[in-house]
Amino acid sequence: MAWRGAKVLLATLTAASGALVAASASTAASSSDTAFTYQPAHAGGTIKLLASTAGGTLDPQVNYTLQYWQLYQATYDGLVTFRKVSGAHSFDIVPDLATAMPKLTNGGKTYTFTLRKGIKFSNGAAVTVNDVKASLQRLFKVSNPNAGTWYSAIVGSSACLKTPATCTLAGGVVVNAATNSVVINLSAPDPEFLDQLAVPFGAVLPASAPAKDSGTTPIPGTGAYMFSKYDPNSQLTMKRNPYFKVWSAAAQPQGYPTEIDMVFGGTVESEVTAVENGQGNWVFDPIPSDRLSELSTKYATQLHVNPLTAIWYLPMNTNLAPFNNLLAREAVNYAIDKSAAVKLFGGTQLAQPVCTILPPGFPGHVDFCAFQKGMGTSYAGPDLAKAKALVKKSGTAGMSVGLVVTNDSVNMAVGQYVQSVLNSIGYKATLKPLSANIQFNYIQNTKNKVQISLTQWYQDYPAASDFIKVLLSCSGFHPGSDNSINIAGYCNKSIDAKMQSAETMSLTNPAAANTLWGQIDKQLMTTVAPWVPLFTPKQIDFVSSKVGNYQFSRQFYMYVDQLWLK
């Protein structure tokens, strides 16, 4: 997922760079490895989260941003979910609205769930198996970003992809109200299907939810909290769901605040100052570089840094000049100094340069670095002379290039640097800053003719396909759509076939599959170069001194509902 839309999923991450720094001034809630232990004495109050802009639509089946996925974990539930706990077990998948993990039959193609009874949506309506079926159908009706990749495994999905409005998933989802069972049939075994049900896209919504993007209108959910009000120009409000009762603390624990507000509109500098002064409780946006020194000295105990499997990168439009020319793409890869970009993010303690699509420590990652000064598997620096020569050879020198970035200070700084580099190698680059509220969808839509952009991708779940297949396969490219997550617009059937082989191989031989994913990564970067990978960041959370119980999930990041006011 993207930053303002990036969902981060930490898999078998090895802390490749720097140490984990997490200091909290307050005593955390006690927790076993399997669930948080609720402490009612800390309940109450309003937590104020600060973000410079809103994160787009509130629809959990459309929104693909970390900003709101961090909130959805407390407001929506699916049949299964990722365990709500800190540490390594936050990647475990546990039953949520289902009573137990599914029974797999039919060679791994049939998943049978039993729906829990007695759970209600925040509007008071009981959750039924018909809601589950309708929610899976709705994924296609609202053109979910991964309808064509993840959920195309469901039988009946091909008809849904052709005519979403009339999607029935006939034969794919079979429900029985009498036994409360939900049977999902896949066309082929898919080892990642439970992960895909566990993310917010798999949320069970009322069958009455509109068959289109709900925009700013909250859809009722089953979580401990519900969205009560959303004005993208000012604030998003979450209140306790009056119909919520804990059915599994591992799946959906009780939260502490009575209300959680996400307030929009301030600059990131003012947000940091507000949290320092206790006027806000947490900053969502990347911390501006000039405040990091201050925070890491005066407010070190309120600063939490966690490793991530994520990547900042520059997708180049492979269907639009000048980047429909391979030499031009290679030139930009040679020219950009990834270490310089790391400086703008805050230094080597907070990020490390990457040359690959799969971040270091991620399943399938292979160390190589194709476009740099000299040979070697780790990044040694740019080669400007080669870059200029490639631009000249490509015949694209002198062309105008527009770089679209979000208008927060860190993205703007990296954008200005990239613009400077593009100018230095022979292009006439202009910077186009956009509000983070719209930038991510804007750069996906081919109608906007975006040549190159700066964006981020955070793992949805720990599988190489979540980077390579989602971001660079034909099924992720939808011309003319705001949900075309293959921003580079790259589509190659033979590489797609290799991705399919890797996915099939993962059922029987995950190690070999990861090796194949690594080869695909290398092939894409060395022969296609659709992106410039920049660096892999760490997650920095700055919380106010007034809150306690900071808990970090490798899946959901900071649990907003587990913060309590001191």
Partner: protein, 309 residues
């Protein structure tokens, strides 16, 4: 005289920006220099320095060295020499301010004089156009036009101005200030028209063009001359505001407004990046105002200009 002296000093040092950047500081003020180094007190240091205190997060640009030969005012977040950019920024801001003021005063003079002299339908139409433009707060109108035109540029018939062109802010700023010059000039011409020498010229059969050029214009010229430096100040301030909002001069070009915007992210660590252009704007606008007042006193001590804009 003091105002003129200060203004001349500012203009001179800004015009010498290429000399300073190329031959004294040896920097390229438009290119990022994130991995660059410089010498401070005989020691080679990085232009962007990693924090070594506390948890060691963050990277801070070098602060003012107070050495005229390199990084006199320090570096910005792209590692660029702030003083060199300040001088280039002055060239841009003064150029835009001067050219837009020139265009504004020229256009406003023609429209104001024509409206005041001919009266009738022509005056009615032009006055209504002025009223409509006047009704918008200046900055709101300038911002709205900039946001729209910055995306696609200006295309009017055969005239095409690209979205990143400096001509765009010049045209926008000139246009929004036209009523503020045209209306007072129109008022002056309206009163001049009733004077005996004008009536005599009309009665003697002189053509309108002759009357405008020989009788009206020489009497309006002092007011136009007084307006000019004041408009340069206003236009420069407007350009700074638009550039500060990222809808005026576009990066990597420098203007005082863009440098203040760059300095916003460094207020806590390197405040000089934002302070320096702000001080230059104050000094330059102040000297232009003093110059305008002086010009007014020289031409007509009794003249009352239209109230504040």
């Amino acid at each position: 005289m003091a105002g003129l002296a200060v203004l001349l000093f500012v203009v001179t040092i800004c015009l010498l920006a290429p000399v300073y950047a190329g031959h004294i500081a040896h920097v390229n003020p438009f290119a990022s220099n994130l991995q660059g180094t410089t010498t401070v007190n005989g020691k080679v240091v990085s232009v962007l320095q990693a924090n070594t205190q506390g948890l060691g997060f963050g990277v801070t640009p070098i602060g003012p060295t107070w050495n005229i030969s390199h990084y006199f005012l320090g570096a910005d977040n792209q590692g660029r020499d702030v003083f060199a950019r300040l001088l280039y920024g002055g060239r841009t801001s003064l150029f835009i301010g001067t050219v837009s003021a020139l265009i504004c005063v020229l256009v406003a003079s023609v429209l104001g004089v024509v409206a005041g002299y001919f009266g009738g339908v022509i005056d009615w139409i032009l006055s209504r156009i002025f009223d409509i433009l006047w009704a918008f707060p200046i900055y709101l109108l300038a911002i709205s036009l900039s946001v729209v035109l910055l995306t696609s540029g200006l295309n009017v018939g055969p005239v095409h101005v690209g979205p990143g062109s400096m001509a765009l802010p010049i045209i926008i700023i000139a246009a929004v200030f036209v009523p503020y010059v045209a209306r007072p000039l129109r008022g002056i011409v309206l009163s001049l028209r009733e004077r005996e020498f004008i009536q005599a010229a009309i009665g003697s059969g002189a053509s309108d063009v002759r009357i405008l050029l020989k009788e009206i214009l020489p009497n309006v010229a002092p007011s136009i001359i007084v307006f000019f430096p004041l408009m340069v100040a206003f236009d420069m301030l407007t350009e700074s505001a638009l550039s500060f909002l990222s809808i005026g001069v576009q990066p990597p070009a420098a203007s005082w407004g863009t440098i203040i915007n760059d300095g916003l992210g460094l207020l806590y660590t390197r405040p000089w990046v934002a302070l320096a252009p702000g001080i230059m704007i104050v000094i330059t606008a102040g000297s232009l105002n003093i110059l305008g007042d002086g010009a007014r006193d020289a031409f007509d001590p009794k003249a009352k200009l239209r109230g504040s804009i």
